[in-house]
Each structure stands twice: as C-alpha cells, then as structure tokens.
Symmetry: C2
Subunit: 80 residues, 2 copies
C-alpha cells in the first residue's frame, strides 16, 4: 500500500476536494490519511517538508499535489 | 462509470500529475480520458466550460480540479 495524505483546513474548497479524492482514489492501492491542519497544527511542518504550500493538497509517495486553492499554509498558521 | 477528463499540455508538471492520476484513480469507477490541449486546441472551449483555467486539471462529474500549476489556458492558446 502506498501512503497518501490529504491535508486540508476545513475550508469549502478543501471539503469539495476531499470528497473527490475520497471517492476517486483507488483504495486497493492507497492507504489514505486525512489531516486537518487547522486542528493538527503540529503537522504543518511535516506538510511543508513534502512541499505543501497551500491546502487542499494531496501527498502521494512524498510528492505534493495542490488541488485548487483553499488557503495558504501561512493563513492556516495564523488561524484564519 | 463516472466520466473523468484529464486536461494537460505536455508540460513537466502535467506529465507528473498525469502519472499520479493514472496510478491513483479507481478505474472501476471512472472512465478516464486524457486530452492534450496543445494538440487538441478545439477542445479548449470545452475545458473552459467546466471551469478549467490552467493545466494540468482533472474534470470529474463536470467539476474542475486544478492540480498544481503547469500553464494557463491562455498560454496553451498562444502555443507557448
């Protein structure tokens, strides 16, 4: 199983992208973890280490894919 | 089967995203079509009608998801 992490911050763009990812990802291949960076602020540094700049973002095999634009990580850090 | 269309323009960001989508999409649920807008310029208007602004982008159920940023549709129209 390949690890996939979906980072979001609860914004409407995030929720919509999460639904798409959750529906479309091949669950026989991927172990999907969903991380809300607004509540799990301690994982922001981890997200940044994969190259995540904004949410929603999907990290697959340590590569970051930004899906549309909900909020920058700076906004998430500031709690806005 | 839900129709999914991946629009790209052959750029490195596009190729990387295409590989991720091709690997991760649940093929039992989705009928995936890949469209190169650089060579199929007649389909740019169709992409725009789904809300696609840049490539690479995935349209699922008529909703557009921009995945990272390779090129704007204006650049694709200009052939750059």
């Amino acid at each position: 199983m390949v690890k996939a992490i979906f980072y979001h911050a609860g914004c409407p763009v995030c929720v919509d992208a999460e639904q798409m990812i959750f529906t479309s990802l091949d669950k026989s291949k991927f172990d999907l973890e969903v991380v809300h960076l607004g509540t799990a602020q301690e994982r922001i540094a981890e997200a940044e280490s994969f190259g995540v700049k904004s949410v929603p973002a999907l990290v697959v095999g340590e590569k970051a894919y930004h899906i549309n634009f909900g909020a920058s990580l700076d906004d998430v850090k500031a709690g806005s």
